[in-house]
Symmetry: none
Subunit: 214 residues, 4 copies
DNA sequence: AATGAATGAGGATTCATTCAT
DNA sequence: AATGAATGAATCCTCATTCAT
């Protein structure tokens, strides 16, 4: 699990306000669509204060990104804790519930901000933004792997499966912001999860192990 | 399948140049990160020409988005043709190959542009950007559904499965732009596809149909 | 009566359309608030045509002004004809009716255009714009003078009286564009006219001939 | 009397300079004929300062208009004070002197600015511009009414008479800016005033109450 | 450390006008 | 003579940033 620690430094009240405003606005409008003045207004400080507490605009964006990621990392660790303490009963139900809870616990704001960072031309930001997803994927994959029958043939690839699920859900969260109610969204995510568990064809009916493309 | 026709109008050379430049730059830097002057320079025209041929910046962005989508729609229709002409042999191999070909045929540019549109606060752009993905999902779901054993229990949900796959691949394309070679990327996509087909646990070993959360 | 002849030159259809559009828009938005493109659009020609038929923007404005003035001059002459043919009966009623008819016959457009010309820093335009009012004032003053008792003491000054009335009515027309209905406007103008005829104090009660200020 | 208070707020030096420059230039060239850069240059500030101290161009115009009107309102109140303190001697001479003083005290600048506002398509500006004239008219009408013999037949209409005079004088001030010397202008205004007091025909000689047009 | 003012470049957009066709 | 394209400067306005207080 990559380290992306940040925010443990004590922030003054003004700095915290600015950071929250920056997160909100960068997430909503992206880097270029957000102005320092706008951030300052939302944080109820004058623009000068932004420059006293943060070096400049890129630096502020990076700080906002790191802050959001730090929180996300915490979530990965929380998930890990949950998984570590699981009883060995119904693995599938357990993981399903945990992933659902994770999905619901991720606000759109961080997701959007991370997406903007991924789209940016700044490789450092891209790397930063991708790391928390990798963390979640890693935790999920580990837990999955423990539950997989090691002698199954074909043996499922836990890492790939975890990646597919998390990226799909992440994308789903961003691209369906207002198109459905929370209830509908939850139902859709459950469908995705179920389908993910099931696979398309039950192995008994499925065709042979799939050709390696043409 | 939603209609998103565009670009049938004959474009002058300058307009076509501007449009291509706009697609490229909007895809790279987003709406706010791209300036009309920048577009004009890349298209080798003076800024005024942009305004003669396009109403304004939002309109140009929408035009670029529609153009990219129109091309994507063509791909959906191409995929549909491929599926319609399939022999009834190995369905899985056939679909796998087709989806792989689709994945490789989608340039990053349109994907990025569509992602920026999805992230924008403009609901029309969001809708436009999402439509070609829906088209692909629809075509894939239909074909999948034909191959699914109607009496299987639990019966796979073709629509959800298709959505999960396409959104996941789309996200994958965007978020992994430079992190791996083309070869690695292809291998990863194949893994995703295989995993998608297989499901995590073979039904025979799987736990019961999954609790509805909580 | 000053000569401000114009427009006898034969205009092509396009030129006439442009001129009418120019009059309308210059009257509505003033010189700087009106653009050649806007005029061309309203006249349903391309901007180039404006430059083929008129030298440039100032020249077009002057042409519009002259056109409007020429029509106004015609009105002055019409008024003159009316006055020349009057019977020698009720002079007051006759003039009142004629002035009312004049007031109603002057569209707001020319009045606004002339006002804009008066306000401009171009002395030629100022002179042009003021001339038709002077014409009307002159005609009215002559007719008034004929009706005034040459031995009255104090003897009314027909020129001043005419000027006061016409300028007041002109101002009234411009500054009360939408504030009252046509019916209300006519009633107000009649009040003005009556008051103008009457003077404030009947001479019998009036104080002596008025001090020459201070 | 309508309230149009403004300008009591303390203005910084730069803001005051900008406002004065705006008044001068808007009065000279109208709204569209005046540029922010021009105003900034005259005020000896950089254009950005204009936008720091005023919201935008329309807002600056409105501020300029309100400032000019506030000064005018003060004049109306001054006139009122004068009228309230008048002895009951020669009413006509007293009012004549007061109106003359008012006329001379109104600079051309405010008059032009108000005229431009009246001509604009902005109803709020029209209303603002017209209000100070209404104030003066009201004050004058009240004082006139006190002096009018209530039993005179036909009884003069003080409101209409006041309106006619003030509008006429206002128009006169604008349309005769440079055409005569100050001395000539004063003489002309005195003529107008005398004529206004007198009416055209002494009632004894006048024809019957004037036909209501047709 | 908070504030207002300054900077100067750059944002989108439109202007009047002219050149090639 | 009609048209589209070009020109280049000007429009209003905002940007990120820094300098004086």
């Amino acid at each position: 699990m990559k380290q992306a620690k940040a925010e443990p430094v004590k922030l003054t009240k003004a700095a915290a306000q600015i950071l929250e405003a920056a997160i909100e606005l960068f997430a909503a409008y992206g880097y270029f669509g957000t102005t320092i003045r706008h951030i300052a207004q939302k944080a109820k400080v004058i623009p000068m204060t932004v420059y006293r507490l943060f070096k400049n605009k890129p630096s502020l964006f990076e700080m906002a990104l790191r802050t959001v990621i730090a929180r996300s990392v915490d979530q990965a660790q929380f998930l890990k804790t949950v998984f570590d303490n699981k009883d060995n009963g119904n693995v599938r139900a357990f993981i399903t519930a945990a992933v659902l809870r994770w999905y619901e616990s991720v606000p759109q704001q961080p997701a959007r901000l991370m997406m903007y960072a991924c789209l940016s031309r700044n490789e450092q930001w891209q790397g930063l933004a991708y790391s928390p997803l990798e963390d979640i994927i890693e935790v999920l994959a580990e837990t999955l792997d423990e539950g997989i029958d090691k002698k199954a043939k074909p043996r499922p690839n836990a890492a790939v499966a975890a990646r597919t699920l998390i990226l799909g859900l992440f994308q789903f969260k961003i691209t369906h912001p207002k198109m459905r109610s929370a209830r509908q969204e939850k139902a859709a995510v459950e469908d995705i999860l179920n389908q993910w568990w099931m696979g398309i064809f039950p192995p008994s009916l499925a065709n042979p192990p799939a050709s390696k493309s043409t």
